[in-house]
Subunit: 213 residues, 2 copies
């Protein structure tokens, strides 16, 4: 059965990006460190088209997350820079260069219409009619596979609050960011969760939940 799921690294104080996100610091001040645990892993590097990397208790968690994903939904802020500029003139092509590490259909939530953009084997489709429409299109594209809601926090929060998410996994990093994009803002208390599992790993705790409908 196809699922709608999210997984994201969060600081212990609940942020998935630090304060003052900018062109130079897309993840905000200190936000880059949220991903230290994963970028050194072979499982992540392979997916990103890079050689080498390590194995640890996080490896199987990352492999499981990458497996069986048929489409991704992301927010305008994950695709593009937080300020006007190349996005406004329609030349912005994402952060990832000519060969984005998605290799699947990506649906970008935005208020600005734009023609689909294909780079290598990733096609970005810009959806202006809301989260439910984007989900319908992503499910259609994913077929039997899962739909991954790739962030940012606001997008994950919207799908959670709307009761459209099946599973969410947090990678809790021992970091206090003190500000930024907060996961779960505006979501509780009506959304019910059930703990699926906890995984201990070096420098990160993996907490996976089922969202009850």
């Amino acid at each position: 059965m196809s699922k709608v799921r999210a997984h994201i690294s969060a600081s212990l104080d609940g942020y998935v990006a630090g304060p003052n996100q900018s062109m130079e610091e897309p993840l905000g001040q200190g936000g880059e460190r949220l991903h230290d645990w994963v970028v050194r892993l072979r499982a992540w590097r392979e997916h990103a088209g890079m050689d080498g990397g390590e194995e640890d208790a996080s490896s199987s968690v990352v492999e499981e997350e990458f497996a069986n994903v048929g489409a991704e939904i992301m927010g305008r802020g994950k695709f593009g820079p937080p300020r006007r500029g190349p996005w406004g003139d329609g030349t912005w092509q994402g952060w990832w260069g000519d060969d984005p590490p998605f290799h699947k259909p990506v649906f970008v939530l935005t208020h600005h219409e734009r023609q689909p953009l294909t780079l290598s084997d990733t096609t970005f489709t810009f959806v202006t009619d809301g989260i439910e429409a984007a989900l319908a299109r992503a499910k259609d594209a994913a077929g039997d596979k899962d739909v991954f809601v790739g962030g940012g926090a606001d997008v994950i929060n919207q799908y959670l609050a709307a009761g459209l998410m099946d599973e969410v996994e947090l990678h809790v990093v021992p970091l206090l960011l003190g500000g930024g994009a907060r996961l779960f803002d505006g979501v509780g208390p009506d959304v019910q969760l059930e703990l699926i599992r906890t995984v201990e790993a070096p420098g990160v705790s993996h907490l996976k939940y089922r969202v009850m409908r």
Copy 2:
């Protein structure tokens, strides 16, 4: 070496008490559920002077936390009701009846002077000259044992921000409270943490950190 440490149950969205704390709901709306995982455990019930209870993967975590504590520091809000009344006229004796489950010296942070209160083998001392003075007195009372900072969130946050805490353990519960008393508010980003361990248990994830000085 004597440590200063805190352990507290938190919702996945970071609250250690729900919104609208009151005499009837000291832990706020929905906050009581933060402790469902622990109140059914034998380790907790024994400490609270109650019979029976279960064992699970959380038992050893709870036993470890209760062990070697020589004194507790708590906020005015943990000791007393959040509104005026019996506290104001000096007759409030805490939430716990004639035999409070502390069995050790407790230092209550408050702005209102009051004579020490002894109930069974617990003495509450009211400290009006700040968190460092309270810590000095608690360390003195604890001797070789640890000082436990028992909450609420604001008290733990103050000790963290002041660089006075050695260890903090969160019991992350699969619950979204949507509001209330937020742990780590005003603490980051200068406080550095190191993950000591993650423990998987039914219905709760135990995350323990060392606070770097």
